[in-house]
Amino acid sequence: MKIRGFAWKYGDNIDTDLIIPGKYLDIGDVRELARHAMEGLDPDFVSKFRPGDVIVAGRNFGCGSSRENAADVLKELGVGAVVAESFARIFFRNAINIGLPVLECEGCGKIEGGHEIELDMRSAMVFNHTSGSVYRAGSLPDFILDIVEAGGLVEYKKKSRR
């Protein structure tokens, strides 16, 4: 599985209330909910984000709540993948479970906003086509990659129960 897109660069500790504040969680429709994604961090995010682009962040991305809506709204907006120096564990699991590719990559701090990057999930490599750099990411076990490639745990389970 390969993902290629332009980077949107954010810092450390992007928490679940920044990704989607609790006050909106009573909105049921994910499309409507997604209109508020990242609004406390970057008011331009929703209007300017182009489907297929990739979020590149610092440490502890997705810390805080177990709300799966945080991963849902990013996927709904067409986020191709999230690459971060590190992730909070519940967000990481949730992203995998809804089929949003995530890679943990120590070197991704060198990627700048607007750089065109490519992720190879199976080999856990991140290529920066703008700067020519290559970064090694933390590799994921095959069964987890299978879940992501299936489009998430619902599809994966559906298939495996057939």
Partner: protein, 420 residues
């Protein structure tokens, strides 16, 4: 080589003689806890091809995040959940009256030492105060647990905080946790289990220990744990109807780190906006005017928390212009607090007493903040925008500091308002 409590629980749940940190194991879940997340989990469960949940008696559900329903849509979510639990034969269901999951689930006897518990809430780590391995998951993971009661987990290494010595006056387990977060940071324990040990923890009540394990997730931890002792068992016995077996660390258990903390170096702490890790000694922020004081949540909404607040307020009213919101964590806490006269005292002081709910803590259906407003809260997170406006500020502190600040109208310690 011996195992830690967490490793022993995961090995047992995985049906293996032993496990090591870093191993990925498939475990049988002893209890699955769900709140309003039940609705989305149920939807995904059916989408996965599920028809009947694996074992209805191992699921405990309740409604706490938006209780009572404040919109027609949430009323619909609650209605859907009631139908689902009835159809699936899930008898451990608690409707809106009972309170916050992390208080109600142990109170109702659904937590046992040595159990593996997963819940659709990040503060599921709270149950570690009873010697369980308890961790938060999303609704899709929960849907898969509904199917077959199994989940894959990576065995975490354990960081052990050994806290020794007496805590100073008005220094509580909340201050201990805020101190640890300030000193070690909010990702210090990511993917790891955190054990709280030592004489200081032994001396704490079960309720105080729950505050530690509750906020272990604020350090990134997968689980927070306190080895059970007689206090734990005395608390559990009347609720379970028997005295449960416990699991403890092997004498040769291997910890990734063991950090000894001198309780004497911990003072009253306040976490400044917008992270629980921005924790500083009280004097650095004392004097900051507040608009709202919030006493409640799964972190600090228990009887001893309300008692501490009432004692600090000492019959003095909430300062003019300040809103004090009090939310007992459960109906049990609420009724006990009534019996003790705490509810009466808080109401007479001018506090607004709400029904047990997550409510204000997550900025759900009540207690939200306007732009520019400042709140001091006994809850667990002060992320930007968590309690309403992105331009509001939330400071985290112990119930005693919240109460003192409510009376003073500005951030203050209990000793500053005493005798005024």
């Amino acid at each position: 080589m011996g195992m830690t409590i967490s490793e022993k629980i995961l090995a047992r749940a995985a049906g293996l003689p032993s496990v090591r940190p870093g191993e990925i194991v498939e475990c049988a879940v002893d209890l699955a806890m769900t709140h309003e997340g039940t609705a989305a989990a149920a939807q995904k469960f059916f989408a996965m091809g599920g028809a009947r949940v694996w074992e209805p008696g191992r699921i405990a559900s309740l409604l706490d995040h938006w209780a009572p329903a404040h919109t027609e849509r949430i009323a619909g979510v609650h209605s859907l959940i009631r139908s689902f639990v009835a159809a699936q034969g899930i008898k451990n269901f608690y409707d809106i009256r009972e309170g916050i999951c992390h208080q109600v689930i142990p109170e109702k006897g659904h937590v046992r030492p040595g159990w593996l518990i997963v819940g659709t809430d990040s503060h599921t780590t709270t149950y570690g105060a009873f010697g369980a391995f308890a961790t938060g998951v999303g609704v899709t993971d929960m849907a898969a647990v509904f199917l077959d009661g199994r989940i894959w987990l990576k065995v975490p290494p354990t960081i052990r905080f050994v806290i020794e010595g007496d805590l100073g006056p008005h220094v509580t387990s909340k201050d201990v946790m805020l101190y640890l977060l300030g000193r070690f940071g909010t990702e210090y324990a990511t993917y790891k289990a955190v054990e709280f040990a030592g004489g200081t923890v032994r001396a704490m009540s079960v309720s105080s220990r729950m505050t530690l394990t509750n906020m272990a997730v604020e350090m990134g931890a997968k689980a927070g744990i306190v080895a059970p002792d007689d206090k734990t068992l005395d608390w559990l016995e009347p609720r379970l109807g028997f005295r449960p077996e416990v699991m403890n660390n092997d004498t040769d258990a291997v910890f990734e780190l063991e950090i000894v903390i001198n309780a004497g170096e911990i003072g009253i702490q306040v976490a400044c906006p917008h992270s629980p890790g921005n924790s500083v000694p009280l004097h650095q922020v004392a004097g900051r005017p507040i608009n709202q004081a919030f006493l409640g949540s799964c972190t600090n909404g228990r009887l001893e928390d309300l008692a501490a607040a009432v004692a600090v307020m000492g019959g003095r009213p909430v300062a003019p212009g300040v809103r004090m919101i009090v939310i007992p964590a459960s109906r049990e806490v609420y009724r006990e607090a009534m019996g003790m006269g705490y509810i009466q005292a808080l109401s007479e002081a001018g506090a607004v007493i709400c029904n047990p709910t997550c409510g204000a803590c997550i900025g759900a259906q009540m207690g939200l903040l306007a732009p520019g407003e400042v709140c001091i809260a006994s809850s667990n997170r002060n992320f930007k925008g968590r309690m309403g406006s992105q331009d509001a500020e939330v400071y985290l502190a112990s119930p005693a500091v919240v109460a003192a600040s409510a009376v003073a109208g500005l951030i203050a310690g209990p000793e500053e308002v005493a005798g005024k």
